[in-house]
Amino acid sequence: MTVLVNKNTKVIVQGITGHQGSFHAGEMLKFGTRIVAGTSPGKGGTKFQDKVPVVDSVSEAMAFEPEATMISVAAPFVKDAAFEAIDSGIKLVYILTEKVPFHDSMEIVHEAKQRGITVMGPNGPGITVPGECKIGIMPNQIFRQGDVAVASRSGTLTYEIVDHITRSGLGESAVIGLGGDPVVGLTYIDVLKLFEADERTKRIVLVGEIGGNNEELAAKYIKEHVKKKVVAYITGRSAPPGKRMGHAGAIIEKGVGTAESKIKAFEEAGVKVAEFPDDVPGLLK
């Protein structure tokens, strides 16, 4: 048992011939991900990198029995692509695309949840289980198999922290990016449940940021339910109130969701909070 995916997971890529889709599908193949097909309306019948069959629709891709899909289409078409995946009953839907209207994400996430489908993203880096499977855009070379599970709302900052973990001699059991948007499929609590149940995982890193109260809820959940060691890092301490920092998630909402409130919540739950990203490996040991 691994977190959500393993080396047998059959994956399709919706939008495999696009600029982003083809690049990341290529990287995933290099990582060892089992991509069984890709979709690209109008390009059915061709092959991606001379080996992965390209079909016109998810409905046709179902012949390859996919268990997961990566959606890499432009923001206005994400809802259609996600509904196509949900309608076909694929159980894990990862949405790479950024700038998806959150009303669309809200529909996607809730419709999926009702049907027992897991959504990752939108606007997150996906999931990597070293030695098993990568679905998403994380750089292949920063991972090493190990016992640290990482969950984050951000992309590059996750790589930064994973890189520190790997360089410190530790390794990762799973790295999940929730996505930086106001509405995403997974919460920290969802992921903590997966990490707590995963045998490979011994230690957990949560990378949070200002805005919302998901970190505070996670802290409460950890206090009550998580036995494994958890370390946190919170970014946005220096963010000026009321200034958007690029992410929709990163707004200081009038005193709620500040870095201070999150750090305090974690510390009260017995979670050590790193001051700098490179402090994380030290706190894990």
């Binding site: 809730h110 009702q114 709302r153 930064e160 109260n213 220096s238 963010a239 990163a250 700098f276």
Partner: protein, 369 residues
Amino acid sequence: MNLYEYMGKEIFRKYGIPVPEGYVVEKSADVREYKKPVVVKSQILLGGRGKSGGIKFAKSQADLNAAAKELLGAKIRGLTVTKVLVEDMVNIKKEYYVSFALNRSERSPMLIASASGGVEIESVPHSEIFTRKIDPLLGYSDFIGREASKFMKFDKNQSAQFRDILGKLYKVFSEEDCELVEINPLMETAEGQFIAADAKVVMDTDSFFRHKDINITDPEKTPLELEAQSKGYAFVELDGNIGVIANGAGLTMATLDALTLHKGKPRNFLDLGGTDNVEIVAQAFDLVLKANPKAILVNIFGGVTKGDTVANGIVEAKKRFDIKKPIVVRLSGVHEVEGRKILKDAGIESFPTMMEAIKMVVKVAGEAQ
């Protein structure tokens, strides 16, 4: 993005939410003939306009002309008034508060209502605020309005008007892709009519591809921030002296945090996002330089954005814009080695870790004139 009150009210009108009769004026000469008492409201995106003198009442043509003349062009807490909304005055019996907003942790809309309207909702005691999660798949339905009406102690007639407005307001929230739709105050007139006396509509900018009619610039952004936005960068101006370029919102924030903890003062920051384009990197320097920082910190963890691309972009920018200011670069991740070599060949200092780069940039910014 926040819409101006008059734009919000136009949307309300389209959806059948009662709003006062009114019109927008950009030049005081365009004020219409006075017929009955009016209120003249500065169209600026600030709470507490009234207290700041942004709202005037007029009981004669002379009042009206004077109010428009005084407000148009005035500066209110740093913002210049370019438009005023002239609206019929209503006889207030009571003021309520109502809004639909996204609840991020529930990933669902939330209804917020209170019988204590006309003030900032944050200042109202919790016990006087009705909040209710809306199941986004079921949407708003009348039973939610009945629950709210009961909380508000409305009689049958009040409840009917209130629920009618709630239904329409939810339609605005979902059909117009809003993060927030707020009526504060929702006014009950002396005649017993409910009317939206103000309108706060915050739209999701990511949805603008399907709202092509919305075409406003964000008044909260500086001219340089707007220029960056038009070029597709996330860019924020601050008041320090170090220009920051990083990739990804999380890493950008973490860079600022670390910089600040090391006593560095960011002048601005620019999130490159995920790009594999030399020109996009080079253009970023143009923006950062316009704010005249003393030094520039580049912090890249290569993934989609590759190290060599960034390095080439930096070299190109240095040449094109003839940059003399110190540039301190941290490069890690994909094509790190190639990138660092390109920089070294061009005489630009680079580091493998964020901390080394930050310490260096703080040092050189302190030294720079």
